[in-house]
Symmetry: C2
Subunit: 120 residues, 2 copies
Amino acid sequence: MFQLDLKSGVPISDQIVNGFIKLTALGILSGGEKMPSVRSLASQFSVNPNTVQKAYTLLEQNGIIYSVKGKGSFVSDDEHSHKAIIDGATKEFCRAVRTAHQLGLTKDDLIKCIEREADV
Amino acid sequence: MFQLDLKSGVPISDQIVNGFIKLTALGILSGGEKMPSVRSLASQFSVNPNTVQKAYTLLEQNGIIYSVKGKGSFVSDDEHSHKAIIDGATKEFCRAVRTAHQLGLTKDDLIKCIEREADV
DNA sequence: TAACTGTACTAATTCACATAGTACACCAAA
DNA sequence: TTTGGTGTACTATGTGAATTAGTACAGTTA
């Protein structure tokens, strides 16, 4: 699974969202696969069920998972969840590009950073 | 100057920090130039002096400005403040690159985004 | 039916952020 | 020296989002 950092200042629900997004992006979770139940994951993380439910609601709003009352929550079809993740990550990254550009980083600076961090 | 958005959820002190970083990056504020006093800026923004002081402390920690008790706060030398801004922005951008890369965006995806957002 | 699932509330708690107020040390100008 | 402006430090208080706690209801499955 993944770890939570209670002292990071990042909301627990956001950490859970990001954790599952990464598991899905890495292919560790695949389309149709069953998510842990709200209550069991809350127990596993020693966290309130409401916090997990909030995370699941956010994941569903972003198209990463879907939930069925009485049955459980499931990862969306591979194409759908993959597209949702790429779209979200692209939007977020473009925001970072704009900010960096406004602060004076040139196109070359940005590309150099990519060469360094995202090597092949 | 710049605007504050009290309803954005972004801490006011952070907004003030980012505002001055952008003014400095754009060359609107130059090395040695005097910053507004803590009290006057707080009055201008209708905000508590402590909030402005917190922002100034952060700006000083980041090397963008320096403060002299009794005299005021001043923008650091051009080379120094410029380097501080570029360093900070680079660090932040590289973090964004790593995150995007982990979520499955390829080097080409990232470069395309740069072409689109940071034209020329 | 029983045990599980998601979902929807309200109430209480926690904690970072912001405010309010005061005080002190320092600098410059009158 | 005095006066007024500056940065800085501190405590106390208010506020709002995040989290917890508890309960309840509806749906599925064995």
